[in-house]
């Protein structure tokens, strides 16, 4: 069975996460060898997944942890049980 581009796009996320079957992975790999559009879509999607996971993209607000633990200390003090 030969798969088309739409079929590849439908499985890109699962492919990146290693959640496709061995058979489907082989089909997709075969398609990617000759389809530069799907290769670019896969590469760009995978690249984005790596970039957004970088700790520099979403950081806790400055002082978040200090304020949280200070508030918690007040609460622990109040709790006399």
């Amino acid at each position: 069975m030969k798969i088309d581009c739409k079929h590849v796009w439908d499985h890109i996320s699962a492919y990146i996460d290693g959640e496709v079957t061995v058979e489907l992975r082989a089909e997709i790999d075969r398609h990617l060898e000759t389809c530069e559009v799907c290769s670019a879509v896969l590469d760009s999607t995978r690249n984005l997944v790596v970039l957004v996971a970088d700790g520099r993209v979403f950081e806790l607000p400055a002082g978040f942890s200090e304020r949280l633990h200070a508030r918690l200390d007040n609460e622990l003090e109040l709790d006399q049980t």
Binding site: W9, D10, I12, S13, A14, I16, E19, E36, V37, S39, A40, V41, D43, S44, T45, N47, L48, V49, V50, L51, V52, A53, D54, R56, V57, F58, L60, P61, F64, S65, R67, L68, H69, R71, L72, E75, L76, D79
Partner: protein, 209 residues
Amino acid sequence: MKASNPEFEAECIRRILAGEKQLFHELIRPCERAIYFLLFSLLKNETDAEDAAQETVIKVYLNLHLFRGDAQFRTWVLSIARNEGLGRLRKLATRREDSIEAESEEHAGDFTPAILTSWREIPSEALERQELGALLRKAIEGLPAIYRNVVLLRDIEEMDVRETAAALGITEGAVKVRLHRARALLQRELAPKLKPFAPRRNGWFGRGK
């Protein structure tokens, strides 16, 4: 993200309940980021997310005796955070169109990717440029809430499918479908905008003239 350690958690909880209250700081510390980003994804506002995160942590402390150990501690904590966030959203619902429960999979939209014929890898070092981080944040914050949550927990907090499903109260299948759609939406939105961040053939990204 730190892997959770059930033995450490169970021992901590036992000692906290026996009176070593200060240990709660150490118990909750590994969960802080996930609590905040889950709430940020729901509330879309740093101040509200921080306030809700503090309330969540206090509720966790006050209800610690109810934790049964049949779920992972962090999953339990995140379900408390989610309830806190949803409670606040309900209060705001009259002036928000983005109410999470009102959003269904129905108006799912078009998930066709941006069509490219080549892609030059953008290295993580490119994040030293503030504009790149800002573009990524804006795109994620602009996703519909049901997709934004899943991206934040799966791709940013790097939680597994099972824990994400438990924290959000949805099935594992829904996590996978939503993550797929979220990534497709991000690719379509971002891929055309990110090309300038790819390294130049001669020299480093964007630094040379």
